[in-house]
Symmetry: D2
Subunit: 107 residues, 4 copies
């Protein structure tokens, strides 16, 4: 079962600046081969359910090990059985309706 998800980790008890924890999470996801796509309020991850959630668990373990005593995370996730879909195609289908060409990925 393939999943497309939006992951947003918020460590608590480490002050207001959390970017180094978010960066560590990006590194964990990248090492897991997941090509996370960072945006301003989370990161997009796609792949098979088990490796994706194993990587998210590792993000929590890593951030705790860095010293954050508490983490509050929000995940939005989608699965579908009717057809294959990628994170890129989701964006493209909306942009086409808006008459915009999506940003080419190293055209």
């Amino acid at each position: 079962m393939n999943v497309i998800l939006d992951l947003c980790v918020v460590p608590l008890g480490v002050g207001v600046s959390i970017s180094r924890y978010v960066a560590a999470c990006q590194a964990v996801l990248t090492e897991a081969g997941l090509s996370p796509n960072l945006h301003a309020y989370g990161t997009i991850v796609e792949g098979e359910w088990d490796p994706v959630f194993a990587a998210i668990k590792k993000c929590h373990e890593t951030i705790h090990r860095m010293g954050a005593p508490r983490i509050s995370t929000t995940i939005k996730l989608g699965t579908r059985t009717d057809r294959a879909q990628t994170a890129e195609s989701k964006v493209r289908s909306v942009q086409e309706l808006l008459g915009k060409t999506p940003p080419a990925k190293k055209a």
Copy 2:
């Protein structure tokens, strides 16, 4: 690693009434021994990371098998290493500050 989470599954492509899918998900969580606590916009689940997320995966599989071609789920989840905490104690600590006695579990 213990987790307290709020799970909200939204099946798409099955019309506006989704309660039977939510009920099926409650049954999956209960069968997994997780004592889900339903509220008006999701259900609270707590337990060890792996069995909790295995049950959430099974919820998606079950809802797809019931005929929903697409599911959009939102999860809020918390982990902490500084001290043990339960879903019940989270609510109680706020209610005590508000001067309210929390609802007793078997009055």
Copy 3:
């Protein structure tokens, strides 16, 4: 337009214990006449769109004034035009499918 929503405020930069900020937010919502219903990962609010969102804005202002320099909030919200629905009826329709009597409100 009526809305049923789940509100979860997470103040950052104030340490790991956030219950007094959550309690202040409950007080703001109650003073706004909204009868918030606290659960372990947020609070359920229902009412007309404008007063509900005015109260949420006031929650942010209040928590900042209490000293939290940063707040990360998650809201799940539902509107529908096909029929009237309450937070209580949402829970009841699932519980009836599960063969459970919902908790009576004034037993």
Copy 4:
């Protein structure tokens, strides 16, 4: 009070393909002068609290008028009083820690 938020609208009762509703919401946000930044599981919006939430309300009204009887929306939102921050600077601060140059906007 400035807000950076992630908005994800999910219309129910209109089948599995929801891109035309998401596109309509993008148009509403753009007409409101908000420069939404679409990603694979939502769109990033930033601005003053009141116009941002007025536009979100208009998104719901528009999607209902297009025929969707029910909408389930998820919003993650951040406010801060310690310093000014933009959606772009949030992404950049993480990318700099990862040793990546952020994508230049009109290089």
